[in-house]
Structures are given as C-alpha cells and as structure tokens.
C-alpha cells in the first residue's frame, strides 16, 4: 500500500514538474553542464529572446560545431520539436534578464 502511494506521489510530482526540469536539468546537472552559464553565453551572442530561442533550437536539433557554444562533443538532443520549444520557453523565463535588473 505504502509502495503504491509512494509511486503515485512520485508520478504526480514528476507530472507536476515542468518539461524543462523534467527533461533537461537532471542530465545537465549530472554531466556538470549547468544551464545558467549556457543561457548567458547565448545571450552574449544572440541578444534577444527570438534570437536566443532560434539559435538554441537549431543547435540542439542539428548540432554543428560551427555554431555550438560548447564544442567538446556535439550532442544531438532527441526531443520532439514541440517539447523542445516548450522547454526553451521555460528555460528563457527562468533565466531572462528583463525585470531582474535593479
């Protein structure tokens, strides 16, 4: 019984967590590739929300060393485009600069 409750709770908590936390954070943390510095690097080169998101989408689905910011070993992120876009939206909202400067 307790097991079932635990499983249900786990499933619920996973379900409740957003796509970004669910799909991206875990792998990146385990590989010591924190997403915040990556975000700021993208800002440095692509500036706007539109620019950053478009560049990320391109680099994650079609990693090309010419464009990648981390060039160790190009890693193709296998996600559905819709999922990826949703994750990127959350990613942007989480780290965006607008509204955070005092």
């Amino acid at each position: 019984m307790a097991k079932i409750v635990l499983q249900l709770f786990l499933a619920l908590s996973l379900f409740g967590a957003d796509v970004f936390v669910q799909k991206c954070v875990h792998c990146h943390t385990s590989r010591h590739l924190p997403l915040k510095p990556i975000f700021f690097d993208y800002l440095l080169y692509y500036s706007s929300e539109r620019g950053v998101k478009a560049a990320m989408l391109r680099n994650l689905t079609h990693p090309d060393p010419k464009h990648l910011l981390i060039k160790k070993n190009p890693f193709k992120h296998h996600f559905k485009e819709a999922t990826l876009k949703k994750a990127l939206d959350i990613y942007w909202d989480k780290y965006k600069v607008i509204g955070k400067i005092r």
Partner: protein
C-alpha cells in the same frame, strides 16, 4: 513718376511676387542648412564624452554578465542616463525619460536631450544597444537663432535693395515711353485748343442769313467738325489732367447747364435731323461745373452719335436727377456693364474715341452720382443720372 497703367502694375506685382517668393525660399533653405550644420557640430562635440560614458556602462554590464546577474545593480551616473535594448529593440532596462528611441541614428537630438547609441561587440546581458542620454542646454540654439536673425535680416535687406534697383531697371523702358507719350499728347492737345477755338469763334461771327444756302450748309458742317474736335480736346484734357484738376464745387442749376449744352450740340443734332425735347423741373447739383459739363456733353454726344437719322432725344430733369433718352440702336443687356470701360465702343462703325462713357463714369464716381441704364435693342437707350439730396 507714378505708375498709371494697370498692366504695368500687374506685371510689377508679378515680378515682385516671384522675387519675394524666391528670396524667401533661398532664405529658408539656407537657414535649414545652417541649422543642421550647427546641430551636427554640436552633436559631434559631445561625441568623445558620450563614447566614454558608453564604455563605462558596457564595462559595468560585463561585470554583471560575468556574475550571471548575481550582481544585478545597474550603473547610475549624475552626468548622463542610459538604457539597454536587445537585438529586437526590446527594452531590457532603462533610466531614460523616453521610450521612443530612434535606432536608425547613432547620434541625434530629440526634445531637449542628446542621444547616443553604442553597439558593444558582445551583447552583455543581451544588450545589443546601449543608449546614452545627456541633456542639451541649447545654448548653441540661442546662438544659431541670433545669427539667423542677424544674417537673415542682412540678407533680406540686401535683397530688398537689389530688388529695388531691379524693379527700377525693369520699369525704366516702360516709364520712358509712357512719359514720352504723355508729354506728346499733352503738347498736341494744347496746340489743338487755339486753332479750334479760333475756328469756332470765327464761324459764330459770320452772319449765315446773308449767305447762299449751299455755303451755309458747308459752314455748318465745318462748325460741327470743329465742335467735335473741341469736345474731343476737352475729353482728352480731362483724362490727362483730372488728377491735377482741383474740383471747384458750386451749386449748379442743371436746367441752365443742360439747356446750354443742348444749344452747343444743336448744329450736330440738326445735321442728323434729330429732335431734342427738354422737360424741366427744378434741379440742382453741388459739383464742379466744368466736370458736370463734360459728363453731360458725353451723354449728349453719344445720344446723337448712336441715334438714327430723324430720331429723337428726350431730356428731362427732376428733383435730384435727370435722364437723357435717345431713339437709337440700344445696348444689349450683357454689354451694359462693360460699356463704361475705357475704349469700349458699342459699334466700331461710329466715330469717337470710346472714352466718353469712361469719363462719365469717372466724373459720376467723383461726385457720388448714380448711373442707370435702361435700354431696348434698336429702340431706345435711357441713361438716368441721380444723386442724393
């Protein structure tokens, strides 16, 4: 010399209009160019300082960026304000007084502020555009306005003087020929007076009764011709001199004057077998007698000239007015207005200078007389002259 001819005045006005128009356009263009130039000079004088300011902001942005925004305090300075915008012109952070930034210009003035837009090589915090704003004290503008006033004024003065000489140059040939013509006419008319008067005076002394009828007829024709010349002479003198002739106002007994003028034209009327009837009631007018005689003469002479052979002329005086009615060709309604213009003649078949009615109009205007035309084509023309009590 004063300017008399309307055509002359018209072309003069046209020339002056064009001249003023061109002068103002040149002035406006020069002013705008000068203003823009001075503005640019002012803006570029601020540029090194603005570059310096932008550099400091970017330096600070870099530090913030490298701290991954753990340090999120935006730099503030007392001498200038700044803002950062991303590649899509979305405002990231701004201390400016305005949100409308002109990203097409990197250095410009808007309102009372000068704006400078710097693009850093790397977009720290996503900032592609760093906008610096400093206040413009507009001291340069005061100077520019002062200079524009002084030099614009000098330019206008110069153009006015130039224009004056140009107009003089432009009018000289016209003036010269006009003066020549005027003098010529004055001289000739003056020379005309003496012989015509002599002829008329001498005819009067001849006793027509003692003459052969044939000779008497010829003499009467000479008399008519001389009178016509005399009338033309008087009209011409009036036209040429009326501005210089002071009016001698007196109370005129119009019956007496009309009777006298009818008598004068009698020979002429007789020659066309025209019967003149004159109905009198008391009628007085305060005006210059010489001039009113000109008016009456012209009306009478027209009544004879445009009458048919064997026609009639009815003249009637009443209180504050009189009329002269002929049984002549009449005036079509559409012509009745323009008939008083100078040199307009009803038909070109009759002699005369066509200035008669023009003179009538001028004299009527001077003494405030109202003139009314009633006419039926090929039946009659009645010209009524009235005045206020």
């Amino acid at each position: 010399m004063d300017i008399n001819l309307p055509s002359e005045r018209k072309s003069l006005i046209k020339f002056l209009g064009l001249y003023i128009f061109l002068t103002l356009i040149i002035l406006a263009l020069a002013s705008v160019m000068y203003y823009k130039f001075e503005k640019d000079v002012m803006l570029y004088a601020h540029l090194p300082k603005l570059q310096e300011d932008a550099k400091e902001v970017i330096h600070r942005l870099k530090a913030m960026h490298e701290s991954l925004l753990e340090d999120n305090f935006y730099p503030r300075y007392s001498t200038f304000k700044s803002a950062i915008y991303d590649a899509d012109y979305v405002k990231i952070f701004s201390l400016l007084d305005t949100d409308s930034i002109n990203f097409k210009n990197f250095l410009y003035k808007q309102g009372r502020f000068i704006y400078f837009i710097k693009e850093p090589e790397l977009y720290y915090l996503g900032a592609k555009y760093v906008v610096i704003q400093i206040p413009d004290d507009e001291r340069w503008l005061v100077q520019v306005k002062k200079n524009l006033l002084i030099f614009g004024g000098l330019f206008l003065l110069f153009m006015a003087i130039l224009g004056y000489f140009l107009v003089k140059q432009f009018l000289r040939p016209m003036k010269d020929s006009l003066i020549l013509l005027n003098n010529f006419i004055k001289d000739t008319t003056h020379e005309l007076n003496t012989p015509v008067s002599t002829i008329l005076a001498n005819i009067e002394t001849i006793d027509t009764q003692s003459l052969d009828t044939k000779v008497a007829k010829k003499l009467s024709r000479i008399d008519i011709a001389a009178r016509t010349i005399s009338t033309i002479y008087k009209d011409l003198t009036y036209l040429l001199m009326h501005e210089k002739l002071p009016s001698h106002i007196e109370n005129i007994d119009m019956n007496e004057l009309l009777a006298q003028r009818i008598q004068y034209f009698k020979t002429l009327a007789d020659s066309k077998r025209i019967k003149i009837s004159f109905l009198q009631s008391p009628c007085f007018l305060r005006a210059d007698k010489q001039k009113i005689a000109r008016l009456v003469d012209n009306l009478l002479s027209n009544a004879i000239k445009y009458n048919k052979v064997g026609g009639t002329i009815k003249i009637k005086t009443f209180q504050n007015g009189f009329y002269i009615e002929d049984s002549g060709i009449g005036i079509p309604p559409d012509k009745q207005k323009e008939i008083f213009e100078r040199y307009k003649r009803l038909t070109s078949s009759e002699g005369g200078f066509g200035i008669g009615l023009h003179i009538v109009m001028m004299i009527a205007k001077e003494f405030g007389l109202a003139i009314k035309i009633d006419s039926r084509l090929n039946q009659y023309t009645r010209i009524t002259v009235t005045w206020q009590k």
